[in-house]
Symmetry: C2
Subunit: 414 residues, 2 copies
DNA sequence: CTCATTTCGTTCAAGCTCTGGACTAATTAA
DNA sequence: TTAATTAGTCCAGAGCTTGAACGAAATGAG
């Protein structure tokens, strides 16, 4: 009943084993070939051969002899070479554009955020500006001797990833935009095909790579912005559902008798816990066109009110927290995550919102689970999705390094 | 960040390619080697070799020459051999035990349901009775020349699958039961290790194999019994979450102000749409100890009332449908399924419950999705989970036929 | 200081599996 | 009867991993 068991040839075998060894090197670096043979189960011969290939491709480096304290011939340590290959992460959001270059050693080599009011701006112009940002990032990478292997773009909307199109991005005012083509037109051709993904998914991935990390376990990352989305990560992988639209937390119904939503439903979470709803309830005008996140933005104004103990603001945020908690408890029952991460605007509002969230989560999970999931707050800034996008490129290389190794040598057709 | 890229050896390659060919045979049978070479991309040589191995293992059969209407040498058709290997599915539920034997050709060869009041009965005794059932099923298989390759047990509770233990099965009154050991003690050793899975997951799988089939796409299968669970299938695979507890629909909160639930929450779905809640609201005594599903059970009584247009019964079921729709709309937003399947008691109640479900689903999915998911009703009877369990065994063989082929020949260590 | 011991990594022949072209087999069309 | 066409097998060859033997580089005992 399952579809996707693909034929394996020698090339495929080699490609996967390269990934196995590269992954183990990354996990344990610096590490000797002997130890790699141990942990992978390969013979020393095979490890040597695989390491040699990775080294030739510049993905791996020999650090020279290292005596491990014991007797015997000292090992030559091998580690991931962070100075040759990098991934480019790009992000389009309502009020900014971001780019970020991440090398294979997981060091951020370049990071650039530009405020920009993209609401209702023509997609061509937005992508044009993004392309500029990307070119500057690629140049910056080049200056450091890095080759950008691929790029991923984070977009705040629903995507047809296979077709490279944005279906709808309500907060940008986009509808059926061929973002992939537009971007491909402006960028140099990279070794890996460019890809797009949802902002919420990538922000979640960013949290895994640059925030709390693997201790998160499986988690739901709430990306509160204008809309409310969630990125769901299970066993280190983003769960996208069958069509890539999973995790639409914003339209989970929290009050069946509530006001109608643009989506056709009633009482969706977004109408209580979306940024605009919160601001409205707190009595702050949502100045469209102003940078939301900036120091003068409405979000800063809200936080100031909260600090001052302003009643309506506190009530609005508490109400949002309750609703968020309710929607998240559904997500907890359905996904069984270890952790919930509050990101986006909720990261700033957490001191006031999270008690209500925690209360809602603490309740309804007793029969099945031993304990409610941990609740944490994102440490990342606004460009979390750009970071996650770059991480996705690096992950892709790590998972199939053969993609970057002379195509002639290993044509493991898929 | 991902963990599980495993080394590939020659044996692994062979094993996976055997699965590729076997899968293609199953999908297209009867089919010639030449066509298999075409669709898999293997050379004719390789296909012949793989088919020969499968044939030697009794998994595949040659049907003799077949002229395909065109000119040229006629092909020899190959198809899955349904007469040698079978899977055993077992099910423990509150008021019955079930067993089912499914051959590799997906034909049900044996099916047996026994009414039994398992509430509060000692786990040893229940498993003992199940073992009897299993032995009879294995004997019945043997009489038909079938070898049972493996078994899967469906249990109504939360499981630690790796450890072979039942954590809690509230409706059975079980707590931390080593079901795996108990069963292994009573059964002959099979080629594949026995396994357990949640009743809801397996019922969902049963629907895919013996109900509506692949046209379901990705779907959420609601298993309404005493509790309310959901099996989630994405791309033909059961989604279990990180710990196997995903899909706990019954404890999604549908009314934060509702009555407290045993799980610690308030207003869980189960308190409105669980069997006991519905019966109570409809004014029917839930006679504990009586077979629920039988012709004299309370469920039959409820359906009779509904047929007669009884006011409280109609209201109770309608209310359950509303609540179920609300919880499902959360699942729809979070999982993005193509279809919702109503199973278990909801299958019988569907004529009265589904309008409310449909209404709830029709609303809140407009922005993201083009249309709400299809709503269908399960066609399967009470032993859906036993069928799914047997299907899981067959699926396992199809996905790695090498498991059944002389271990000496292909030790593809994982 | 020398030699046995230990561990690291390479070399080389061998084995497993897929590939590709040649070959045989079985049928239709002319 | 012969040419054309399609199915399946045979066999040499190539890619990748294996395993044993070997050389290299260190430590420790005498």
């Amino acid at each position: 009943m399952r579809n996707e068991i693909t034929p394996v040839r020698h090339g495929t075998m080699r490609a996967r084993n390269l990934a196995v060894v590269l992954g183990e090197i990354s996990r344990r670096q610096p590490v000797s070939r002997a130890r790699l043979a141990d942990v992978t189960g390969f013979t020393k011969t095979t490890v040597s051969s695989l390491v040699a290939a990775l080294k030739a491709a510049g993905l791996v480096r020999e650090d020279g002899p290292v005596r491990d304290g014991e007797r015997g011939r000292p090992a030559t340590a091998v580690s991931v070479n962070g100075d040759r290959v990098a991934g480019l992460g790009l992000e389009v959001n309502v009020d900014y554009l971001a780019a970020c270059v991440l090398d294979l050693g997981r060091r951020i080599r370049h990071r650039h955020i530009v405020a920009a009011d993209n609401r209702g701006r023509a997609p061509e112009r937005v992508i044009g500006a993004l392309t500029d940002l990307a070119e500057r990032a690629i140049a910056a990478a080049g200056d450091q001797g890095l080759t950008v292997a691929g790029a991923v773009v984070a977009l705040p909307g629903t995507l047809d990833r296979a077709g490279g199109r944005v279906r709808t991005a309500p907060n940008l005012g986009w509808r059926d935009v061929a973002a992939g083509e537009l971007l491909a037109g402006g960028l140099p051709t990279l070794a890996l095909p460019a890809d797009q993904d949802n902002e919420a998914n990538l922000a979640a991935l960013g949290e895994l790579w640059f925030g709390h990390g693997p201790e998160l376990g499986s988690y739901v990352h709430v990306s509160g912005e204008i809309g409310v989305g969630a990125g769901i990560v299970v066993d280190g992988r983003v769960f996208r559902g069958a069509h890539g639209f999973a995790g639409e937390l914003g339209h989970v119904v929290v009050d069946p008798a509530g006001p109608p939503c643009a989506c056709g439903g009633r009482g969706c979470l977004e109408q209580v816990a979306g940024q605009e709803a919160i601001l409205r309830a707190a009595g702050i005008p949502d100045t469209v066109g102003t940078s939301t996140a900036g120091p003068d933005g409405p979000l800063a104004a809200l936080v100031a009110l909260l600090r001052d103990g302003d009643g309506p603001a506190l009530a609005a945020v508490r109400r949002a927290g309750e609703a968020l908690g309710q929607a998240l408890s559904a997500a907890v029952n359905l996904f069984d995550p270890d952790t919930i991460v509050l990101g986006g605007i909720f990261s700033a509002l957490a001191p006031w919102a999270s008690p209500a969230v925690e209360e809602a989560l603490g309740g309804g999970t007793g029969v099945v689970r031993h304990a409610p999931p941990r609740l944490t707050v994102s440490r990342l800034g606004g460009d979390a999705a750009a970071l996650g996008a770059a991480a996705l490129v690096v992950e892709r290389v790590m998972n199939d390094p053969a993609l970057l190794m002379e195509a002639s040598a290993h044509p493991h057709g898929r």
